[in-house]
């Protein structure tokens, strides 16, 4: 039994198709992140799961129940919003107990749950304050607490950290991870921040245009992106794309005048292709003064960006810009001629027409 299961879900606003025949299964206790650029439908999907939007077709199952047409509160979900969405006129306690009171829970049970949430989230001293008197981080904690007291199996997070500053964001990120470890609930988490996605998720669903492009664990998403979009969306700086063609029965990649041997490629049958894209992450390229053994390309240094732990080298390669992550070894002046060593085993090769990984 899946914890959350989306079957052939689609959603149209008039003639506009927002979600297209979507399928998604989330396991019990799993942390799934919906990741994508704004407008990709990730928040919309979450709202559908929560029952805040009526879907056009398909089914939604939560904990083995068809909840497609159930009220949000009947679905066994808790939800945390980007803007916290705390009721301004109620105290923190009032915010936590509002839903429980509606559900008609006995008083002592409510007390118990509030106490537990307060302990877990360390918001005990804030219980009698109003949201207006809380800091951003505190508000977000209360917002999580409101989902927590519902004692539900599935937590839905709608970009819960976007309104926080960078430092607080990373702190709360860790805390959410800890919370997940501690509670073991199923969590569906929407974000456009790939760091959040990669750090938090058991599995990431990368979305674009109302379609899940790839659903996999962070490692796979990062290393074996299923198509050009995922490859380009994940990773910072983004993956380098070399446009060329696959030749010699797929054993080599021709890039301009250069021939790159593909024998080490970890993928499907390549074959000859008129237009192909070779994707290489910045850390999968090495920089050498002379041509190294294995596949390599000559290039010229443009900018050397020192990031502290490592450097980003921006190079020119046949008029194309390439970024490489290298250990800090003194600055390379602009114009230095170098050779790039390519780790083909970790590269991704895409068909240029279908944009799919080969």
């Amino acid at each position: 039994m899946h914890s959350v299961s989306v079957k052939n879900l689609s959603l149209n606003f008039g003639a506009v198709s927002v979600l297209k025949t979507m399928n998604l299964d989330v396991e019990e206790g799993e942390f799934v992140v919906l990741l994508g650029p704004s407008g990709c439908g990730k928040s919309t999907l979450l709202n559908c799961l929560a029952g805040l939007l009526d879907i056009s077709a398909g089914e939604i199952w939560i904990k083995g129940k068809n909840v497609t047409w159930a009220e949000p509160s009947e679905r066994g979900i808790g939800m945390v919003f980007q803007s916290y969405a705390l009721y301004p006129q109620m105290t923190v306690r009032g915010n936590l107990t509002f839903g429980l009171t509606i559900a008609g829970l006995p008083k002592d049970e409510i007390e118990k749950r509030v106490a537990r949430a307060a302990e877990i989230l360390q918001i005990g001293p804030l219980l009698d304050r109003k949201p207006g008197a809380l800091s951003g981080g505190q508000r977000q904690r209360v917002a999580i607490g409101r989902a927590l007291v519902r004692d539900v199996d599935v937590f839905l997070f709608d970009e819960p950290l976007s309104n926080l500053d960078a430092k607080l964001r990373s702190e709360l990120r860790v805390e959410i991870k800890r919370l997940h470890n501690q509670l073991g609930n199923t969590m569906v988490y929407v974000t456009h921040d790939q760091i959040e996605a990669l750090t938090l998720a058991d599995r990431i669903a990368v979305m674009k245009g109302g379609v899940i492009q790839q659903l996999a664990d962070p490692h796979t998403i990062y290393n074996k992106p299923t198509n050009l979009f995922v490859a380009g969306f994940i990773g910072s700086p983004t993956m380098n794309f070399l446009h060329g063609k696959a030749i010699d029965g797929g054993t080599a990649f021709q890039f301009g005048d250069h021939r790159i041997d593909l024998s080490g490629y970890d993928g499907g049958a390549v074959g000859n292709r008129e237009a192909a894209v070779l994707g290489l992450r910045p850390e999968h390229i090495t920089v050498h003064a002379t041509a190294p053994a294995g596949p390599s390309l000559p290039a010229e240094v443009e900018i050397d960006e020192n990031l502290g732990a490592d450097s980003l080298l921006w190079l020119k390669l046949d008029g194309q810009s390439v970024c490489v992550r290298v250990p800090v070894e003194g600055r390379l002046p602009s114009g230095t001629k170098v050779h790039l060593g390519l780790d083909i085993a970790k590269a991704s090769l895409f068909d240029a027409a279908s944009e799919q990984r080969i």
Binding site: N47, A50, G51, L52, E71, P72, S73, E74, I77, G78, M79, F81, Q82, S83, Y84, A85, L86, Y87, P88, Q89, F98, G99, I102, A103, P131, G132, R146, R150, D158
Partner: protein, 301 residues
């Protein structure tokens, strides 16, 4: 940001304060005072006239203050001016106006706020079409509706009762109030509404427990607009409320519009001020909330 904090951000944000007597300041205050005089002159004329006796009015200039102020006109307007055979002044109509105004204000605001809430948070196509028609309808002269409303209220079985006049005020208050409420509720964070739904709150609980406590500003605007409009209404009160419920404006009309006899301008003016006293008081007391509420309701669309 929560809506409460947004509603209270009515603070000046023009230039920084400058010394009182800088040339620019002097110009600003001069302009403000000159325009104030334009706005105050009619009130001044009304008050001065109401304090004169008829001879002073006939001889004098309307702008010249009286040396011998008398409240006779006020007393007559309140308790002795005649409406046909009933020489009871405005006083008896006052309570009728109160009994018409209070329920009409409550019902019209209830209907409009719920309609605005539905349009903002639970929209459905049909309701939105209705709203469009309502807005167009707000441009039709009232008089066009008089006969149809007589028939409608007759068929509803409420013609010539308090219910009919409440209904009519609800009808005519609906367009602009619904617009205000709809804009206001749409300006509240949508996530708050979603959070409440996840918490299991239904249509009414969200309205009463979540949104209404945040909506004091817009409700105060609605109350001010409706009290003013309904209190000043003559036509609907006299046509739909039935003779036992005639509002104060009927007596005012009788005092002001009497064709024959000597025109008692002082009594007319006193009666006018007395009738306008309720809405005027509300404006004087709550002008600040009115501006705040407008800021919250009309500004964000």
């Amino acid at each position: 940001m929560t809506a409460m904090s947004s509603a209270s951000t009515v603070t000046p944000n023009g230039a920084k304060p400058k010394p009182m007597f800088a040339p620019g300041r002097v110009l600003i205050y001069t302009l403000l005072i000159v325009t104030s005089i334009y706005y105050l002159i009619p009130l001044y004329v009304m008050v001065i006239t109401s304090l004169k006796d008829l001879d002073q009015i006939r001889e004098g200039n309307i702008f010249i203050p009286t040396m011998k102020p008398t409240f006779d006109a006020w007393i007559k307007a309140w308790s002795a001016a005649c409406t046909g055979l009933n020489c009871t002044g405005l006083a008896p109509g006052f309570w009728n106006s109160v009994f018409i105004t209070i329920p009409s204000v409550i019902v019209s605001i209830a209907v409009a706020s719920i309609s605005g809430y539905t349009l903002a948070n639970w929209p459905f196509k049909f309701a939105e079409w209705c709203f469009t028609i309502l807005l167009v309808g707000s441009f039709i002269p009232y008089q066009v509706f008089l006969y149809p409303l007589v028939i409608i209220t007759r068929e509803m079985g409420i013609y010539s009762t308090l219910y009919a006049v409440i209904f009519v005020h609800t009808v005519f208050g609906l367009p602009i109030l619904t617009l205000l409420f709809r804009n206001y509720f749409a300006s509240l964070p949508e996530e708050l509404f979603k959070a409440a739904r996840v918490d299991g709150a239904g249509y009414w609980r969200i309205f009463f427990n979540v949104l209404m406590p945040m909506s004091l500003p817009i409700f105060s605007v609605a109350v001010i607009l409706q009290v003013t409009g309904i209190w000043n209404d003559f036509l609907f009160g006299v046509i739909y409320a039935g003779p036992t419920n005639y509002p104060m404006t009927v007596q005012l009309n009788n005092i002001v519009n009497s064709l024959q006899g000597v025109k008692e301008y002082n009594v007319e003016m006193a009666a006018t001020i007395l009738t306008g006293l309720v809405p005027l008081t509300i404006y004087f007391l709550s002008g600040k909330y009115f501006v705040r509420g407008i800021a919250a309701g009309a500004v964000k669309g």
